[in-house]
Structures are given as structure tokens and as C-alpha cells.
Amino acid sequence: MCKDCAQSGKYWDCFEEILEGYSGDKSQLIPLLQKLQDAYGYLPEDIIERLSQRTGIFVSQIMGVATFYSQFRLEPVGENIVKICFGTACHVIGAENIADAICRELGIELGGTTEDRLFTVESVACLGCCSLAPVITINEETHGRLTPDTARAAIRDFKARKAVAV
């Protein structure tokens, strides 16, 4: 949505936009956090603080929710998110080796972000493509039936296409 707002001095505009329709319904907390994360890439402290002021939901409670669900991030992530499926089918067919190959390729640990902030690698419980195990996603792209070799190739290919696009 507006990850560059901070630079353009419109940091709070997205926030206001998202909160515009907020009616005081506290059950909206999770959708609000989802939208804020979409906009800011993660959930910065000042955003949570302001959210608490606007909604009357305690910071302690917002943090409770934000740290409970694995979707929410409290630290900035890389531009591109690689998700490695660790579902049962992927596990029995070798997800660990795929993760190992990708992490080695990018030079980071699982859960980490590359120094150039291009990639964050996360593990996910299941992407629901079990018959094509092992599976990963790079942003919206899904890659299945991987081997450590093809997983590496998928990352390199993605990088190359990004480079061309730039």
C-alpha cells in the first residue's frame, strides 16, 4: 500500500486511512492489525501506540494479540518473503533439506532477513499444496515438487527477474 510513506512525510496518512471507518468495535483489532501490517510491512511501536489511543484497546492487549498470531511481525522484513512449507507431506519428503538449501543460498538462518533486506525466509505450517510437496512460496509465487537444486534455482531465477525489472 504505502511502504514509502515514511520517506514522503506521509507516515501517518495510511494509519488515518485505515482507521477512518473504525466504529469502536474492538473485535476489529485483528483486521486492523492486518491492514496496518500490509501498509507498513510490520507493526511498528508508534503505530501500535497510536492504535491503542484511537481504539481504547490497551497496548498490553494489542501486543498480546500481535505476538500470539504468527502472521504478525514486530520487526521490519525484507522486500520479498520466502515461505517454506513445513507441513507433514513436505516434512516426509524433505522440507528440511529445502530450507537448508535456501538459507544457504541466501546466507541467512530460517526466520532471518538478508543484509540487503531483499529476502526474509520464514517457515509456515502448511501451504496446503501437499500433493506437490515440498513447496515454497516467493511472495505470491508458489513453487512445488522441489529438490534442493531446484529450490536454489527458483531463488536465483527470482533474483534475476527482479534485476531485469529494475
Partner: protein, 588 residues
């Protein structure tokens, strides 16, 4: 008029379906043939994705394993030339094609429209009787009659526990309140199952119809679909479907002139397996941490926003429209004495034909795995089938004649579950499988109750020790004791069923535990702490393939000389072994 349909469920996309679609669209545009290129959801044959269908005057020809090159061939020979590419046909309407075996024993109630319609087109769905059950219910039946019909159909909860759906509706209908809720649990949590995703992606209207009927039956004017955020395609198609249903008057005020109002909202989950538990799901919709509540009170009495609520899972609801349309008797023609209807399974793992399978309840596991699934891959011996995911268990090969029904499966220590069915072969270490599931439940434990929060952690630590060769005599007994305590005393279903994968593997594969503990050996050579890779010098020809492929440069050696593996560097990924054409890499 010919139509080309590409299977674009998540599986199809993962297998490269988007590229195939793009290629076909380009070809159609170039040829200026007027041939329409559209998409559909999952046909169930995930193993054969990407799949392309040529539809001509109701005659279907379905191709499997289509890449861009094959697509071009199919377009030119079949779409333009009218001549099917015979060797690539998976199925056709005349009963031909190489993959008829996959479908032969299936019965499609829930998946009736999956793979046959464009999920983003309500007209497609309506053409195949979507909302006909709703119309019948609203126009010809009272709410009680709907509940009775569902009761009579005998459909049980397809989310795992198997509680009769009609009974559940009856409870919720029995509590008077100014507002009530019906909730669809689409937080498919079993990490190895994708039935709900496929249904939502392939035929979202079936679930919407089920919810509206359910709302009518229990007196709820509000519905929530709690969907996994990891299923973006499903959520997008659901949104499209809800809008279309609203536009056609199936949702909103005074539906079909019946005076019944129903509003449907999607709530995206945010990543917590425990939210598949009813009360945790309710907490989550209310905007809280998904920590389960004490039961009783049950949601039927006091649920969402403290109002009477009814929760059903996706597959359960997808049955409802069919039941109302065709009647309880038609439904109960399928299944066993105890359980009517069909069950959808996500067949995956070491199986030849993995995919989405809908079978009448009462088939044996063997029929599903061997006949529909085509048995294990690469002629490996079948070892076990995992059913029910983290809450289920591993059923050993010698029990493949077990009938797929709630009670017989429960007797094995596994459960019917939501439909995950993972096939394991001789290479899978059962202690590692137990450890895998425990690691999953432990990381997904909400942290509320003592037994789950700390108990599963202690179990996991014990299993980790065993797989690392640090197991001790008495560990298995300790696991059993702790399992018993957790099963009895944990607060919610997540905790109470967490020990099942451990208990079933101990029950059927105790020898593997003992080998790890007593001999410090992993019989299947899977546990990395207990194995090492070595090059057999009299087999190695020095082809250098392993050295080139090793991701950590642990293999060294000159061309045409025997290679060697540096054990200090080796991460035991097994690539060298899988690459060696001379069987010169040995695991010890």
C-alpha cells in the same frame, strides 16, 4: 464451440498452471480462433497438475502434466485441429484416458462442482444447481424441518470430532436469543491437508449455501467464515462469491422473498492452529488471543459475543446444499450403518497419485491408498498412513484393511480427522514423525493450560533426545505417562489429542523407539544425529557429480579418483547419495 479450461487451484498454480494459461491465451489470441480460455478450481488430481481441459459440446477431454510445450501441441492438434493428443489424455467423458483409476471409486457430493465450474462465476455454479437446496429450504420448509432433514441425513462433523451436525444445529436452535451466529471454521490447521482450501477455491458457493441454510435452521442472521490467512486464493474467491450471492439475492435482506435475512462476513485468521478449536476461534473473531475457554458453557449456549453460536467446518457445510436439494435419503444411500455420506481426503506423501479424493465412508484405507492413490512411489514398501494430522495417528501397513469410519479409525488410535492422509514408506522414521508432530503442536500451543504448554514441551524434549541418540531406558514409559496426563487434563482438543501421534507410533513401532534408545541407531537412517554419509571406495568412479552438487563443499576428490566426504562439513542432506549413479554413497 470449444472452451479451454485450466485448473488453477493452488496446486495447479504451484505446478506452473499460470504459465500454461498465459501460453494458451497467447495462442488463442494469435490464432484468432474465438476459443475461450478460462479457469477452474482443483479437479483433485494434484499429482497431474497442471491440467488442461478441452470442452466441446459437453464433451470433456482432460490433459495432465501440461507444460508450455505440451500446451502448444494440445492447442494446435486438439483445439484447432480437432484431434486429441492421445498419449497425454488423462480423462475423457467417454471413460478413456490414463487416469480413470483415480476417479473410478470416488463419489462426488462435496466436490460435485470442483474442477467443473469457474469458481469465480456464479452462473457456472447455478448451472450446476447451486442454491437449489437453499431455495427449497426457504420456500418449502420450516427451520425445524431443515434441522430434521439434516438430522435424518446423519451427516457428522467433518472437522474431526464427528459430532452429528443436525444435533448441533438442534442445540443452537434451542437457545432463544435476539442474535445468534453461525460460523464456518475454515481455519484448516492440519499441516498436511487441503480439503477445505480446495473446496473454497473450487466451489465457494457450496459453503455459502450451507451457511445460509444453517443460519435459517438455527435462527442466526449473521455468519462468519473464519479462514486461514495462508489461503489467499480461497479468500479472494470467497469474497467474489459472496458479492455475487448478494447481487443475486441469496444473501442480504429477505432472501428469495422468504423474509429471512442473512449477512456473511469473512474473518481472516492470523496464523494460529489452535483457532481451529471452537472457543479459541470465537476468541479470535472477538479480536483476542486465540486461547480456548472452559467448556461448558458450550458455544451453542454461549458462544460468539456470548450469544448462541454454531460452528461447522467447510466440508460439513459443503454437504448441506446437496442434502437439502436431493434429500436425506439420497445422502444416506452413501456410507455405512453408522456414518452416512462421503469424506474428502487430502492424499499426499509417498503416494503415486496424490490429490483430493472423495469417497463414500466405509471404504478401506487400502482401497484409497493403493487403488485410488496407486500405491507408494518408486516401489518402496508402505509403512504407515498418517490420518488426522497432529491430532491423529499412524496406522501401520498391516492394518490397511481398516474401514474408514469414525469408530474403527478411533480404535486404531488415529482419528478420522479433517481428512489429511499422509502415506509413509520404508524410508520414514516413525520416531521422527512423532517428534515432528509434537514440535508442531508444541509450537502451536496457546500457552494457557499447564498440561499442553509445559507437558508437550517435555514430551518434545524427550523425543528430541531419542532422535539424537541420547534416549534413556524409561523414556518411552515417561512419554506414555505424560501422554495419558495430557490427554485427560489439557483444556482443549489441541492438547488432549497432541499425544496421539506419539502413542500410535509407540503402539505400532515400539521397535524403532528401542533401536534409537538402546542401539543409538535410526533403522531408516533418517535421524541426522545418528547417521553419517560415506563413499564406498570400490564403487566410486570419480565422476565428480557428488562433489559438484554438495551444497557445503564437503565432498572432495579429483576426477577419476575415489572421493571422500568431510564429516565435519557434511550436513547430511543426502544430495550426494541421490545424485550418485553408481550407488557409491553409503549411509552408516
Amino acid at each position: 464451440m470449444k472452451k479451454i479450461i485450466i485448473g488453477l487451484g493452488s496446486c495447479g498454480i504451484a505446478a506452473g498452471g499460470l504459465k500454461v494459461k498465459e501460453a494458451l491465451q497467447n495462442l488463442a489470441a494469435e490464432a484468432d480462433s474465438g476459443i475461450q480460455v478460462s479457469e477452474t478450481g482443483c479437479m483433485g488430481m494434484c499429482y497431474a497438475e497442471p491440467m488442461v481441459e478441452i470442452l466441446e459440446d459437453g464433451h470433456r477431454t482432460i490433459y495432465g502434466g501440461v507444460d508450455e510445450k505440451r500446451a502448444k501441441e494440445i492447442f494446435q492438434n486438439h483445439a484447432l485441429g480437432g484431434k486429441p493428443v492421445a498419449d497425454a489424455v488423462a480423462l475423457d467423458s467417454d471413460g478413456g484416458g490414463s487416469e480413470q483409476g483415480f476417479l473410478a471409486q470416488q463419489e462426488r457430493i462435496v466436490l460435485e462442482r470442483c474442477g467443473a465450474i469457474d469458481p469465480e462465476s456464479i452462473d457456472d455454479a447455478l448451472a450446476m444447481d447451486a442454491y437449489a437446496g437453499l431455495e427449497k429450504a426457504l420456500k418449502t420448509m420450516t427451520a425445524e424441518q431443515v434441522v430434521d432433514e439434516v438430522l435424518r441425513a446423519g451427516v457428522k462433523g467433518r472437522g474431526g470430532a464427528g459430532f452429528p451436525t443436525g444435533q448441533k444445529w438442534k442445540f443452537a436452535a434451542g437457545y432463544a436469543a435476539e442474535s445468534k451466529y453461525i460460523i464456518c471454521n475454515a481455519d484448516e490447521g492440519d499441516p498436511g491437508a487441503f480439503m477445505d482450501r480446495s473446496i473454497l477455491e473450487g466451489d465457494p458457493h457450496s459453503v455459502i449455501e450451507g451457511m445460509i441454510i444453517g443460519g435459517y435452521a438455527i435462527g442466526a442472521a449473521h455468519g462468519y467464515i473464519y479462514a486461514r490467512a495462508e489461503y489467499p486464493i480461497a479468500i479472494r474467491r470467497l469474497k467474489i462469491a459472496i458479492e455475487a450471492a448478494e447481487a443475486r439475492g441469496f444473501l442480504g435482506k429477505n432472501i428469495l422473498g422468504s423474509g429471512f435475512d442473512f449477512k456473511l462476513v469473512i474473518k481472516e485468521g492470523a496464523g494460529a492452529f489452535v483457532c481451529g478449536e471452537e472457543t479459541a476461534l470465537i476468541e479470535s473473531i472477538e479480536g483476542n488471543r486465540g486461547m480456548p475457554r472452559i467448556r461448558p458453557p458450550f458455544p451453542a449456549e454461549r458462544g460468539l459475543f456470548d450469544k448462541p453460536s454454531n460452528i461447522n467446518n467447510v466440508e460439513t457445510l459443503a454437504n448441506i446444499g446437496w442434502i437439502l436439494r436431493k434429500g436425506a435419503d439420497a445422502f444416506s444411500a452413501y456410507g455405512t450403518e453408522e456414518s452416512n455420506g462421503t469424506k474428502v481426503f487430502a492424499l499426499a506423501g509417498k503416494v503415486t497419485r496424490g490429490g483430493l479424493v472423495e469417497i463414500p465412508i466405509g471404504m478401506t484405507i487400502s482401497e484409497v491408498v493403493n487403488e485410488i492413490g496407486g500405491g507408494t512411489k518408486d516401489n518402496k514398501a508402505l509403512k504407515a498412513v498418517q490420518m488426522g494430522g497432529p491430532s491423529g495417528g499412524c496406522i501401520p501397513a498391516n492394518m490397511m484393511d481398516t474401514v474408514i469410519d469414525y469408530a474403527p479409525l478411533a480404535a486404531t488410535g488415529a482419528i478420522m480427522g479433517s481428512g489429511g492422509m499422509i502415506v509413509m514408506d520404508e524410508d520414514n522414521c516413525m520416531v521422527d514423525i512423532a517428534r515432528y508432530f509434537l514440535q508442531f503442536t508444541q509450537s502451536e500451543s496457546c500457552g494457557k493450560c499447564t498440561f499442553c504448554k509445559i507437558g508437550t514441551k517435555r514430551m518434545l524434549e524427550t523425543l528430541e533426545r531419542i532422535t539424537q541418540g541420547k534416549g534413556e531406558e524409561g523414556d518411552v514409559e515417561k512419554l506414555e505417562t505424560l501422554s495419558h496426563q495430557i490427554k485427560t487434563n489439557a483444556l482443549c482438543g489441541l492438547g488432549q489429542t497432541a499425544p496421539n501421534p506419539v502413542l500410535t507410533t509407540i503402539r505400532y513401532f515400539r521397535n524403532e523407539y528401542d533401536a534409537h534408545i538402546r542401539d543409538k541407531k535410526c533403522p531408516t537412517k533418517q535421524c541426522k544425529a545418528l547417521i553419517s554419509f560415506n563413499i564406498v571406495s570400490d564403487k566410486c568412479v570419480g565422476c565428480t557429480v557428488c562433489a559438484k552438487k554438495c551444497p557445503v563443499d564437503a565432498v572432495s576428490g579429483k576426477a577419476k579418483e575415489v572421493h571422500a566426504i568431510d564429516q565435519g562439513k557434511c550436513t547430511k542432506c543426502g544430495i550426494c547419495k541421490s545424485m550418485c549413479k553408481f550407488d557409491a554413497v553409503d549411509i552408516s
